[in-house]
């Protein structure tokens, strides 16, 4: 990134941090958390300990970080190297990201930037100018992306509350600042679980590894009475609703399932896993030493804020997570895809000079689709 672009981003980020201390707070058990941050064009600084909001705000003003992070884990010594931190427990966290959902709409709003010649196009396989296959992908997520991610969050919360006994008010959903959501679970029975146990939980939530016997199907002499009822709780109930469709079809479908046999049943389980399982990123949940973007901080992939979703169903990140100034600025934009921010349409821009609000300029510069003129 060019120097004047960085300067512009830093100025905008600094202004945001200065004006929005109200949005940025240290989490509970502050002194047991590990903090970290990154500056534009430089590496990660980790293993920092912070004692309160004041110290955090000072760090923001002093360093003007591009990204700020905080651990979900609590340690005795958060500022020591990993092996000496003495891990105590960690909040359960889930990451749901539109890019992992295999959405049809993705190809319409994914831009490729050629690493060889900097050509920008919507061609996904190779550069339309020099044919290179070294492409950097930039996505400008659309409403469909957000709706699909929200749907996964809803599936996840249902499983959490119904099966795993998590209280609804202990589930906090944040927009990640780019293309998805981070779901935090507090005060659960899972706080002290290690990585392997959490990995089992993710398989449960994603509906991975189910065997036919669990749903009543046996290899030999299957017995109709073992198949789930429509009203059952947990996965057997979700299976029924997905596979039978309605209560009245139960009997007919069970006959079909038995006729088709065991391996076909296994295949059915794998097929429905994508529909009824919640599509979380299992690696994020398994990692008990990770640092996560701090709520209230800016995401340097977009200039949008990682923000708590007060009214999740109505939440629209592209209006509610954009806090940067309206002040106009002139940039050279090369963004062949149209996008919406704060209810305004922008683009497409084809390598042209345009005057746009700061929040839009930051959004495009963060995605390397514009530079300060």
């Amino acid at each position: 990134m060019q120097e004047n672009d960085i300067k512009f981003l830093e100025d905008s980020f600094k202004k945001y941090y200065f004006e929005h201390f109200d949005l940025i707070h240290v989490p509970n058990r502050t002194s047991e958390r590990e903090f970290g941050f990154q500056k534009f064009n430089s590496g990660m600084t980790r293993h920092i300990s912070i004692k309160d909001d004041k110290e955090l705000h000072l760090l923001l003003m002093k360093n003007i970080p591009s990204d700020v992070y905080c651990s979900n884990a609590c340690y005795s010594f958060p500022d020591l190297p990993m092996s000496e931190k003495d891990w105590k427990e960690a909040d359960l966290i889930f990451d749901i990201d539109a890019k992992d959902l295999n959405l049809e709409c993705r190809k319409n709003h994914t831009i490729s930037k050629c690493n060889e010649c900097n050509e920008i196009s919507t061609n996904a396989i190779n550069c339309s100018k020099c044919n290179s296959i070294k492409l950097e992908k930039k996505s400008l997520p659309c409403k469909n992306c957000i709706d699909a991610s929200k749907n996964e969050v809803s599936k996840l919360s249902k499983i959490l509350t119904e099966d795993l006994d998590v209280q609804q008010n202990d589930i906090h959903v944040y927009f990640s600042g780019n293309e998805g959501f981070h779901v935090y679970v507090y005060n659960s029975q899972f706080q002290q679980l290690g990585s392997r146990e959490r990995s089992e939980l993710t398989d449960y939530i994603m509906f991975n590894g189910a065997i036919p016997e669990t749903f009543g199907m046996k290899k030999f002499k299957p017995n109709r009475s073992l198949f789930p009822d429509f009203e059952e709780k947990g996965w057997r109930g979700r299976f029924s609703k997905e596979v039978y469709g309605s209560k009245s079809k139960r009997s007919k479908i069970i006959s079909e399932l038995i006729t088709n046999g065991y391996s076909s049943f296994q295949k059915t389980l794998e097929d429905i896993s994508g529909k009824i399982g919640a599509k979380i990123d299992p690696n994020v949940t398994m990692d008990i030493h990770r640092i996560f973007r701090l709520p209230g901080s800016l995401n340097s992939k977009s200039g949008l804020t990682k923000i708590f979703c007060n009214d999740f169903t109505k939440f629209d990140p592209y209006t509610e997570a954009s806090f940067l100034s309206e002040n106009s600025i002139e940039v050279t934009a090369n963004c062949p895809v149209e996008f919406k921010l704060k209810n305004r349409k922008f683009g497409p821009y084809f390598n042209e000079k345009v005057s746009i609000p700061t929040y839009t300029a930051v959004y495009m510069i963060c995605k390397k689709l514009a530079t300060i003129s």
Partner: protein, 341 residues
């Protein structure tokens, strides 16, 4: 500490305080070595170890869960306590491990029976308390099942690799997992074995007792049978033997060698738990990491990708191959020793 009745001590003798028990009954260890009437109990104890070493479960004089006669109860307990004394005097860890395992299996049967007991509530409550006291697992009765918090379930079930133990294949509701008595006890099997063996290992070794020399010597020679590493059953190819030797000597086996060994043994049907101890002597051994890596190779965690053993050709380039004539015409260590047509 749990209050133990006669019956319970006979079923779960490892819960008793050995020294206290002998004192209460008015005996000293020395008497068992000399008194002709008591000497048969030392033989019984020896027999108990012998059966365990053979991988079988000691068949007790308890009928169902009642002693056949009042005298049988203390004999059960004495033979267990004396077996520990013999084991301590022999100092043979392999025997202790085998004995603990067999005793765990035996206790498992009683626990399961007690949990399922519908006519005697006190037996059930006792079993529930044993499980809670020893393993900090709180189980509760709910209809025909026992329920345990998901987090407790996971801590134990992750050591199992059969798919029916995956949480997804369990009846889960409101943060609880539903188990049958059999499954409840199966869940803590490993910990039960560990509990018993650590109790034996931590017990004080008494000085040699006159009259005990003969069974102790017999135990020492018996344990030689098990001295070689248990995984080396069947004829393994030289590359694998070589890798096992290096590890047993506590020398460093390169990553490629560990990968070969682990994938080979996994493909021979060994479980992650059986393989993990092989790496114990490695200079950089870390149990958690080893298990994690083995599970990864076995495809039981995360990605689900299952790794297979490298080809002989690949192993040659990694200097791991020590081909002998029997290696002719095979392309992977897996094929070693199989008849070819």
């Amino acid at each position: 500490m749990l209050a133990l009745g006669q019956d319970e001590i006979a079923k779960y003798p490892f819960l008793a305080d050995a020294g206290q028990y002998l004192k209460d009954k008015g005996f000293t260890l020395e008497q068992f070595g000399t008194d002709p009437d008591l000497k048969s109990l030392v033989e019984k104890a020896f027999n108990r170890i012998e059966v365990a070493a053979d991988g079988k479960i000691y068949h007790s004089d308890l009928i169902g869960d009642q002693a056949s006669n009042q005298a049988a109860l203390p004999r059960e307990v004495f033979s267990f306590l004396l077996a520990i004394v013999l084991l301590k005097l022999s100092g043979m860890t392999t025997l202790i491990k085998r004995f603990a395992l067999a005793e765990a299996r035996r206790a498992e049967k009683y626990l399961e029976k007690d949990l399922a007991n519908i006519s005697d509530e006190s037996k059930k409550q006792f079993a529930i308390r044993v499980i809670d006291d020893l393993f900090a697992v709180q189980i509760k009765k709910q209809d025909d099942f026992f329920v345990i918090p998901i987090s407790d379930y996971l801590r134990h079930s992750i050591n199992f690799h059969e798919r029916e133990w995956k949480l997804i294949n369990r009846h889960v509701e409101k943060g609880l997992v539903f188990l049958t008595p059999h499954e409840t006890v199966r869940l803590i099997r490993k910990e039960l074995g560990t509990y018993i063996s650590s109790k034996i290992i931590n017990a004080k070794t008494p000085p040699m007792i006159s009259g005990f020399e003969e069974p102790v010597n017999k135990l020492i020679s018996m344990s030689k049978k098990f001295a070689t590493f248990t995984v080396t059953t069947g004829e393994y190819p030289p590359c694998i033997k070589h890798a096992i030797e290096i590890l047993e000597k506590g020398e460093n086996l390169p990553h490629s060698g560990r990968f070969m060994l682990a994938t080979f043994l996994l493909s021979k049907g060994q479980s992650v738990e059986e393989i993990a101890p092989l790496f114990k002597n490695a200079p950089d051994y870390n149990e958690r990491i080893t298990l994690y890596q083995l599970n990864h190779l076995a495809g039981t965690s995360g990605s689900g990708t299952h790794y297979s053993c490298p080809s002989c050709e690949k192993l040659k380039t990694q200097n791991l191959c020590f081909a002998i004539p029997e290696c002719d015409n095979i392309i992977s260590p897996i094929q070693f020793g199989k008849k070819r047509f």
